[in-house]
């Protein structure tokens, strides 16, 4: 079999992989920052906060990412005059912004569900001990609940990061040249679909399992002094 086309396109595919990683990390970072307050809102007894958080999480976890992406990228056009007036239309015109924006909202919903699960299993005794020392509210949350929940959530969060990495391939549909996008363009020019898609798939595999390996190491290190089983499978995440 003639593999010249694979070697020729490898540099361009790797360039695409860089964009894939960039979009993944940006969305993960922004998504995490959004997920913490959402998870807190979801757990408060206050209805005004709890209900919107619930609806947001249900919507973004209950609908396909592709629809969400189209809703933002194409759907924003329907509100162009309004978005222009507010001065943000220049953002929604960009596929890159729409991609990161949608992926952020999407991963934040899944991450909030993971964090919610983890916060619920933080041992009551630790919370009570902190309360008896006079901690409450945000201080209690910052010092006791969040650090513990983060450690408990790590295995499930690793899964989420891997699913997000794979989900970024959808941004190729809104014209971005990520790893999948580059592969599709080269296929359209050369009509060698299986060689390129298999190559792209292998690059995804390498990225995915390198990432999994690194985060397993991290998990083991973070729980080394505890010698406890990290709670896996919190929050039932299987992708989108």
């Amino acid at each position: 079999m003639d593999l010249a086309i694979v070697w020729e396109s490898l540099p361009r595919l790797l360039e695409g992989a860089v964009l894939t990683l960039e979009i993944t990390f940006l969305s993960l970072l922004a998504g995490f920052c959004l997920a913490v307050p959402v998870a807190m809102a979801r757990l408060t007894p206050r209805r005004m906060l709890r209900v919107p958080a619930y609806v947001y999480m249900l919507y973004f976890r209950g609908t396909p990412l592709l629809v969400q992406l189209f809703l933002v990228y194409y759907g924003s056009g329907q509100f162009q005059p309004f978005l222009d007036q507010v001065g943000v239309w220049f953002l929604f015109r960009e596929a890159y912004f729409c991609a990161v924006f949608t992926l952020t909202l999407n991963t934040a919903a899944y991450t909030a569900e993971i964090l919610r699960g983890a916060m619920l299993v933080v041992p009551r005794g630790e919370v009570e001990a902190a309360r008896s020392l006079g901690m409450s509210g945000l201080l209690l949350f910052r010092r006791i609940i969040l650090p513990k929940a983060l450690r408990l959530a790590l295995p499930a969060y690793t899964n989420e990061a891997v699913f997000l990495l794979q989900a970024t391939s959808l941004v190729s549909i809104i014209t971005l040249l990520d790893l999948t996008g580059v592969a599709r363009i080269i296929v359209a020019q050369s009509f060698e679909p299986y060689k390129l898609y298999i190559t792209a798939g292998l690059i995804y595999l390498v990225i995915t399992y390198t990432f999994v390996l690194v985060s397993r190491r991290l998990e083991r290190r973070l729980s080394a002094h505890l010698r406890e089983q990290p709670a896996g499978g919190i929050g039932n995440v299987v992708g989108r």
């Binding site: 629809v67 759907g75 509100f79 970024t168 190729s172 898609y197």
Partner: protein
């Protein structure tokens, strides 16, 4: 609240929804079959079967669905054609998008179902299997009488999850021109120049499937667990 005026395209979305559910059910059936096969492979005595099952779940879970769909729909026919050309035959193959979609989605979620069935199998108390063997039951009989009836119950929550993710993944088949919900919404959005309206309507229909599935799953689990609940 905003109201959704669908400009007469409502029936199209409805037909798309029916198609989506059909693709989803067919793919789910295939995923369960692949899942059982995969789980059997993981526990097989044969090293080749174990290796193959491991490769299957590793590859499928490490490669994006979109790449796999493009690979099956565009890649497999050309691969077969190239191979045939190499052997001196002239062959043209066109995959039906419905078939390609169902096979790909079934294959992908079969890998997730494999893990579900593997966990369910491990949840069956070993003693029961040993007891059955002590009664003289053979391999197949043990699986049929002891393993499968209980595995279903342990597997139900996981399978419910797989279904809910699978039905969302069917939206990707719109990219290989199958007129399911997502593509119907896309066509209507282009014709009316109201993309937000139609994609939002489609998203609510997907959400409807998810919510109904959650409710049904709760019912089924309660029904499956009725024998094991105690006072």
């Amino acid at each position: 609240m905003m109201s959704l005026d669908l400009h007469g395209y409502g029936w199209m979305l409805w037909q798309g929804l029916e198609r989506t559910i059909m693709v989803g059910l067919a793919a789910m059936g295939l995923a369960v079959a692949f899942g059982l096969l995969g789980a059997w492979g993981k526990f097989s005595r044969y090293r080749a079967a174990r290796w193959f099952a491991g490769l299957y779940t590793t590859v499928v879970r490490g490669v994006p669905e979109l790449i796999l769909i493009l690979l099956v729909y565009y890649g497999v026919p050309t691969l077969v054609q190239d191979l045939a050309a190499g052997a001196g035959h002239d062959l043209r193959i066109d995959l039906n998008p419905f078939v390609a979609g169902v096979i790909t989605i079934g294959l992908i979620y079969g890998a997730f179902a494999t893990e579900v069935f593997r966990g369910a199998f491990l949840a069956i108390p070993r003693g029961q299997i040993e007891a059955a063997r002590a009664f003289g039951m053979g391999h197949v009989l043990v699986v049929r009488r002891v393993v499968l009836p209980q595995m279903w119950r342990f597997a139900l929550p996981g399978l419910g999850n797989v279904w809910m993710v699978l039905i969302k993944a069917t939206a990707l088949i719109s990219l290989i021109q199958l007129d399911e919900l997502m593509r119907s919404a896309d066509i209507a959005a282009r014709a009316t120049r109201l993309p937000f309206t139609f994609f939002f309507a489609a998203s609510l229909l997907y959400l409807g499937i998810t919510v109904v599935s959650m409710l049904v799953q709760g019912r089924i689990e309660a029904w499956a667990d009725r024998g094991s609940r105690q006072g």
